[in-house]
């Protein structure tokens, strides 16, 4: 309940933040603080320096345009959950945001903070993978873009370098005849995802599956893709049987984690159930 001592900086621009991170190699970026502060209060994390980007201008907000949507890193889960424009284009992300933690957590927690922290049980990563989102990172050498498929490296580890700040998330434009959905099985205590699945489905002119993209979170050390299910859906007529058959392969090859709430076997099972449910919803939305 009492964090250890640290030095505190509150830059007002991204460049200042990056400069501070470059100078203090063990520094941590503080956004909403809902991943970092609980860990610091338990003294499991004791960063010597905090760079609070909460006062950096221009990092919060949602822009939805024809070319896709951009979400500033400091945009809170609550704002995302409430965005009607975003819901229209991409209901999976508003669904995921609305299921994070609880109302107070959603009011403070930010998308940038959550993604940078890359908790294995966080909700967004599944959505990012399924939607093919891109992360904009700014570092000492300028800005770069990282695709979600390459962003989540391993347990709580992303492709961000220590001196980089995640500034923006970009979602590709909405495709006609496509739909997406996020379905979650929450841990009864922490509300984290025991497993969570996001499905994005595009239909062809005949109503068959043109493309499927499915992200899984909660089940493994890091968010991942259900490649076999995606392949199994492609070109298929989408009905209860084909969806079930494809979803049954969603956990194939996954090294599922095990804890006091769910064994690896049960997690793998949940992944298949949630995958089927997410696909069904996505298909319904695509039609």
């Amino acid at each position: 309940m009492f964090p250890a001592k640290f030095e505190y900086y509150a830059p007002t621009t991204v460049n200042q933040a990056v400069a501070l991170l470059k100078k203090h190699r063990d520094a941590k970026v503080l956004a909403g603080g809902h991943s970092l502060l609980p860990t610091m209060k338990l003294r499991l994390a004791q960063p010597p320096v905090l760079v609070d980007i909460g006062k950096v201008k221009g990092l919060a907000g949602i822009k939805v345009a024809k070319g896709g949507a951009t979400i500033g890193a400091l945009t809170t889960h609550a704002t995302i959950a409430a965005s009607k424009d975003l819901r229209k284009q991409c209901p999976a992300i508003t669904e995921a945001a609305a299921l994070i933690g609880d109302m107070q957590v959603r009011n403070r927690g930010t998308i940038g903070g959550s993604l940078s922290h890359a908790d294995p049980a966080a909700d967004y990563p599944a959505v990012m993978i399924a939607l093919g989102a891109e992360m904009k990172a700014v570092g000492p050498k300028g800005a770069r873009t990282i695709n979600a498929s390459h962003f989540f490296k391993s347990l709580m580890t992303t492709a961000l370098k220590p001196s980089e700040v995640l500034t923006e998330v970009r979602l590709p434009p909405h495709q006609p005849n496509s739909g997406c959905a996020y379905v979650k099985f929450p841990n009864p205590a922490s509300r984290f995802a025991v497993a969570g699945v996001c499905a994005w489905i595009a239909l062809d002119a005949k109503g068959r599956c043109a493309k499927a993209s499915i992200g899984i979170t909660g089940a493994c050390a890091t968010a991942t893709r259900a490649s076999k299910t995606e392949a199994a859906l492609r070109g298929k007529e989408l009905n209860e049987e084909t969806i079930a058959a494809a979803a049954a392969q969603a956990a194939d090859g996954l090294d599922c984690l095990s804890d006091i709430h769910a064994s690896a076997e049960y997690r793998a099972h949940l992944v298949t159930v949630l995958t089927a449910r997410a696909i069904q919803q996505a298909v319904a939305r695509a039609k």
Binding site: M1, F2, P3, A4, K5, F6, E7, Y8, A10, L30, G33, H34, L37, P38, K41, L42, L50, D52, G54, K55, I62, T76, A78, T79, A81, A82, S83, A98, G101, D102, M103, Q104, V105, R106, N107, R108, A189, S190, R191
Partner: protein
């Protein structure tokens, strides 16, 4: 040490504080506003909920410095002109509390919630207070109280929430 400037219940405060001071400790220990309670270390229980710029947040999961420049409302700032906030009144009328420890946080959460959902269903109320744990009431009368307050408030003064916020 670092400079903090914020407004709490309409009063402006300035202080030089240890950066690690949590907002809840600043409110309780420095300002003596002990109506905001601490019930867990892990951001689950919601006993410490206050409004920061109108939004319900867990003040144990926020550095006091992160609130710099913000307007904070605590349970002590809810009663206006000697009149209870409709939620305070409804909690009393409906026996929405027993030990009272979660009550401040529960009411502050509900204040924020009813601003953007003035006519909630029971399920919506139950979803809204997921981040507030009560060990005494089984939530039955809390839900009833929030519903009663919503009805009362909707009759009297519709409130609009800023765009884009839940």
């Amino acid at each position: 040490m670092a400079q903090l400037k914020l407004t709490v219940n309409g009063v402006i405060y300035e202080a030089d504080i240890d950066p690690r001071l949590l907002l809840v400790h600043y409110l309780r220990d420095t300002l003596g506003l002990t109506g905001t309670n601490v019930g867990c270390d892990t951001s689950q229980c919601g006993a410490c909920t206050v409004l920061v710029d109108g939004l319900a947040v867990k003040s144990c999961t926020m550095l006091a410095l992160q609130a710099s420049g913000s307007k904070i409302t605590t349970i002590e700032g809810l009663k206006q002109d000697g009149v209870y906030h409709p939620l305070q009144q409804a909690f009393w009328d409906n026996h929405g509390l027993q030990c009272g420890y979660c009550t401040s946080g529960m009411i502050m959460t509900a204040v924020d919630f009813l601003k953007h959902n003035p006519h909630p269903t029971e399920a919506e109320i139950r979803h809204a207070i997921e981040g507030n744990i009560c060990r005494c009431t089984g939530y039955h009368n809390i839900v009833k109280a929030i519903k009663a307050a919503a009805t009362q408030m909707a009759d009297n003064r519709p409130l609009q929430r800023p765009q884009g916020q839940v």
